[in-house]
Structures are given as structure tokens and as C-alpha cells.
């Protein structure tokens, strides 16, 4: 890899009560990379991205982004640096229209952000790209599930991120819908955004990722290209058990 390191997670540990969710996980994501993060339930994927996005504070270890330590920054500051995420269960701003949902990050997340008409124009462009422009004036609370998933991604895009974390954006969707979301993520990558995909739908992860890291029980057990991962004995063991 010649691209510079974008995200650098350095032996991050997180405990909940007596339960260790992450036991010293390290990984690096390079600029513009398509990165897959997989692992069985409870392996710590969501905890890890909560630590990266700032929703949780890790107990030990450090997180660096673009060569600067962000371990102690609150979530909104990290977003401004260029880390965007979508939520596993969509969390739209339900009382706003779809367009307004995108104006929030457009106005807040980018330095000196666009305001008013500029923000709306930017938001509209993103909605077109994602295929939600027809719903721009609809109230977000009334969208269908697939529309909400798209809105999650659109809103994350409005952050103008350098890194997008997609947390199970496809869970429960039909296979045609999975392809739609996949196409959106490829399009984002085309624009130079690094994407971390967390997903259980192997077909999607294998197709999308250039590199995959596998977590199990809060530890990193494998790393490699899709083919490598599929034939990795440790991965097989993690999924099938011993």
C-alpha cells in the first residue's frame, strides 16, 4: 500500500463492567481504501467503531486519524475531522424533512460549513447521487426501511468524510436492495472516501473489500484479502467454532 495511513487504531481496550469487549485491538485503514470488518456476533465490531467515532471512550490504547491523536476528542470534533458513520438501526432526525436531515451535517460538520441555500444545494446533490432526491421534502420519520438506510448513508456523506463507517447498512434487506446499497458504497469510494464496511452478508463483504480484518471475542484474529480470509483456518474456526 502506498496510500498514507488514515486511521490508526493502536491496541484499543474496552471493558463493560467485568466484560472485556475489546482486548487490545490494532488495525490501520489507508486513505481511499475499501476495508471490511467482520466477525461473529459479540466479537466487538460495533464497540470498536463506537470507540473510533467517539460514542464510547476506550479504556486503553490510542486512536489516530491523519497523523493526529483523537483519542480524547468528543464525537462531533471527530466528525469535523472527517469520520462519518451510519447507524445499524437508522436514527434519522424524524421531525425534519430528508433535505433538512442532510443540512445538519452540511452546516456543522464541515469547517466554516455551507449555510442556507448552499447547504441545501449540496444536500440535494448528495440525494441525487443516492437516489433519494424524489423524497427530499418528505418527513424523515415516515420513510420506508430501505429509504432510511439510504438516508443514513446520505447523511454520513454530507459530512464530507475522508472515512465512512457503514455499520450493517444491509442487514435485513433483500438481495436486490443489498446490491443498491453496495452500488452506493462503491460510488462513495470512487469519490476518494475510505469505507469501513461492517456486515454479515459475506457475499457483499467479499465483493466490496480490498482488505478484511476479522475480530473474534474482542481480538483481531486475521487480516488479508477476501480470498485469503475465506481460506484462513482461524477465521473458519471463529465462525464454525472449535
Amino acid at each position: 500500500m502506498t496510500a498514507p495511513v488514515l486511521l490508526d487504531v493502536r491496541s484499543v481496550t474496552k471493558r463493560f463492567g467485568g466484560f472485556q469487549a475489546l482486548g487490545g485491538v490494532s488495525l490501520q485503514v489507508f486513505a481511499g481504501e475499501r476495508f471490511g470488518l467482520i466477525g461473529p456476533n459479540g466479537s466487538g465490531k460495533t464497540t470498536l467503531i463506537n470507540c473510533v467515532s467517539g460514542a464510547l471512550r476506550n479504556d486503553e490504547g490510542a486512536i489516530w486519524f491523519e497523523g493526529r491523536d483523537i483519542t480524547r476528542l468528543p464525537a462531533h470534533r471527530r466528525t469535523r475531522l472527517g469520520i462519518a458513520r451510519s447507524f445499524q438501526i437508522p436514527r434519522p432526525f424524524g421531525s425534519m424533512t430528508v433535505l433538512e436531515n442532510l443540512c445538519v451535517p452540511a452546516e456543522y460538520a464541515t469547517r466554516g460549513g455551507a449555510h442556507g441555500a448552499d447547504a441545501a444545494a449540496e444536500a440535494m446533490e448528495i440525494l441525487r447521487l443516492i437516489g433519494l432526491d424524489g423524497k427530499a421534502r418528505a418527513v424523515a420519520g415516515g420513510l420506508t426501511q430501505i429509504e432510511m438506510r439510504k438516508l443514513e448513508l446520505a447523511r454520513a456523506m454530507a459530512v464530507k468524510p475522508k472515512l465512512l463507517i457503514s455499520d450493517e447498512s444491509m442487514a435485513g434487506l433483500s438481495s436486490a436492495e443489498v446490491d443498491e446499497i453496495l452500488a452506493i458504497l462503491f460510488a462513495l469510494h470512487e469519490r476518494g472516501i475510505a469505507v469501513i464496511m461492517i456486515e454479515h452478508i459475506m457475499r457483499a463483504v467479499m465483493r466490496f473489500s480490498q482488505r478484511i480484518v476479522v475480530l473474534d471475542a474482542g481480538e483481531r484474529i486475521a487480516e488479508g484479502g477476501p480470498e485469503e480470509i475465506l481460506h484462513n483456518a482461524a477465521v473458519e474456526k471463529a465462525y464454525l467454532g472449535e
Binding site: 464525537a75 462531533h76 436514527r91 434519522p92 421531525s95 445538519v104 456543522y108 449555510h115 454530507a158
Partner: protein, 314 residues
């Protein structure tokens, strides 16, 4: 309506109010309208925090009284001119909002609500024990002998309140349409998602408590001149606490129009009721109406109107 039209309406209203003072003689109407306008300011101020952000303030009376007593002290100590009273009242009450917010807003929202509830009782205790402002006996304030343009001080106060009400509405409308307002609503809808979209949630909530508190303080600043004799019970009257949240609830909390509608309707009804029935009974009615609205029409009158219009269109 565009901003320019509204501005024209506002200027026209102020001019009309001034013109009215040349015509109308009966002082009662000025007193009654002053009270309603004061509620427009309080309800609008409450809604900036409670409606947009979803944090409930039960201590409106405390912020209002802070403005009133700040003014009373300045009048007594340095005979400060009127504009200074407004600014100082707003400033002190705004700082109070900032302080309470800073202490409690990092916790769950209910703690903020409880803190404001207790704040009113305690500030009242402090004032009751404060000899300089007369303690529980109260304090007299002499109105300036004359004001330019007006032959009567009450008429002057009435026009001041018209301007303050319009100012509060303009502030609320500006916040609502700006990126700040959008940030506040994002907090109400989903605070965690807002934070992840780059919204500095704590800072914005503090802005809201400060602005909201400051506007309530401004509303209270002319109070000593309005009453000429003020004691803690009237300044900390629970009417302010219930009305400033009842009015937005009844009118609708999502837009700046809601508190205005609620304040005018409920305020006017109360003025009529106080004259014709008793003031206690009218408070009871407010209580019942509030409970009925939160249960049956949580979107308020503005929400009902919108739904009705949407249905008419479909």
C-alpha cells in the same frame, strides 16, 4: 411569509401601538395587553429551549424574577436608565441559565427540569432573606416623573412590551431558521446522531438555555415599574412557570408561531376570566387545559391546523 413582509408587519404594529396611545384613554386595556405581551415573550423564550431542544424548564418564574429584581436593584442603587435595566436583566438571567445548564445538561434531561423547579423556590428564599430589596415585605419603585413622547408611563411600558414581544419572536424565528435551530431540533430528535453529525450538542444546549433565560429576564426587567410595588410572591408567581410552558404546549412547540398563538389565546382568555370569574379558578382551567392538550393534541393548535389543512388538500 417572507422576512421582509414580517418586518413591515412588525414596524406597522409598533406604530399602531404608539398611535393607539394617542387615542385610547382607558388604562385597563394597557395593563391587560401588557400582561399578554409579557406572556408572548415568556412563552417564546421557553419554547427556544423546551420546544426546539426538548429540555423542560419549570423555573420560568425564577428567570423572570431575576430580571425584575436585577432592575429593582439597579433602580434603587444607581437610578439606572431604562435601556440599562433591560440589558442588565437579560444578562443576569442569561448567566443564570448558563450556570444551571452547565451543571445539569450533561446528565439526563429530567435533572435539568428538576433543577429549574427547585431553582425557583430557592431564589425566592434568597430574595425573601435579602434586606436590600425589602425581603418578604417587598420594594417600592418610583416611576420616572415623565417620559418623552408619552403622557403616561403605562402607555410607554405598553409600547416597550410590544417591541420586546416582537423582538422575542424575531429571535425565535431567526434561531429556528438558522443552522442553530436545525442543530437544536437535531438534538431533540436524536442527540447521539446529532453529535455524530458534527453538532456540538452541549454547547448548543447551553446557547439555548442562555438565550431562553436572557429573554425571560428581559421580560421581567420592566416589572418593577409596571407594578411600582413588588414583593417576592408576585415576582416568583407560579403563573409564570405554568403559563410559559402551557402556552407553547397549547399553541404548538415546533414553530415560533405556536407560542404566539398560545399566549394570545390563553392570555386573553385569562384576562377575561380574571375579571369575570376568579383568578384561582382560571388557573385551574389552565391546568386542565394543559393536561388535556398534552394527552389529546400533543402537537398543539398549530399542529392541528396543519393536519386539518393537509387533510383538506388531500
Amino acid at each position: 411569509m417572507s422576512g421582509r413582509v414580517l418586518l413591515a408587519v412588525a414596524v406597522a404594529l409598533v406604530l399602531a401601538a404608539v398611535a393607539l396611545t394617542r387615542v385610547l384613554e382607558n388604562q385597563y386595556y394597557y395593563f391587560a395587553t401588557y400582561v399578554i405581551l409579557q406572556y408572548v415573550v415568556l412563552a417564546t423564550a421557553w419554547n427556544i429551549l423546551g420546544g426546539y431542544t426538548g429540555y423542560v424548564n419549570f423555573g420560568s418564574a425564577a428567570f423572570f424574577a431575576t430580571g425584575a429584581y436585577t432592575a429593582a436593584v439597579l433602580i434603587k442603587a444607581v437610578a439606572a436608565p431604562f435601556p440599562v435595566l433591560l440589558v442588565a436583566g437579560g444578562l443576569v438571567a442569561g448567566l443564570l441559565g448558563l450556570g444551571i445548564g452547565y451543571l445539569t445538561l450533561r446528565l439526563r434531561g429530567v435533572f435539568f427540569a428538576i433543577a429549574t423547579l427547585a431553582l425557583a423556590v430557592v431564589l425566592q428564599t434568597l430574595v425573601v432573606n435579602w434586606g436590600y430589596v425589602g425581603g418578604s415585605r417587598g420594594i417600592y419603585t418610583l416611576r420616572p416623573a415623565r417620559v418623552p413622547f408619552f403622557d403616561n408611563y403605562v402607555e410607554f411600558l405598553f409600547v416597550v412590551m410590544v417591541v420586546l414581544a416582537l423582538g422575542a419572536l424575531a429571535t425565535a424565528r431567526w434561531i429556528e431558521r438558522s443552522w442553530i435551530g436545525r442543530g437544536l431540533v437535531a438534538i431533540r430528535d436524536n442527540e447521539e446522531a446529532a453529535e455524530c453529525m458534527g453538532v456540538p450538542t452541549l454547547r448548543l444546549k447551553l446557547v439555548a438555555t442562555t438565550v431562553s433565560g436572557a429573554l425571560m429576564g428581559v421580560a421581567g426587567a420592566p416589572f418593577p415599574y409596571y407594578l411600582t410595588y413588588m414583593e417576592p410572591t408576585s415576582a416568583f408567581n407560579l403563573d409564570y412557570a405554568i403559563n410559559s410552558l402551557a402556552m407553547p404546549m397549547i399553541g404548538g412547540t415546533t414553530t415560533w408561531v405556536g407560542p404566539l398563538v398560545g399566549a394570545v389565546l390563553l392570555g386573553a382568555a385569562q384576562q377575561v376570566a380574571t375579571v369575570t370569574i376568579s383568578s384561582a379558578l382560571n388557573l385551574l382551567i389552565v391546568g386542565l387545559v394543559v393536561v388535556a392538550f398534552v394527552i389529546l393534541a400533543p402537537e398543539g393548535i398549530v399542529g392541528l391546523f396543519r393536519r386539518w389543512r393537509a387533510r383538506a388538500r388531500a
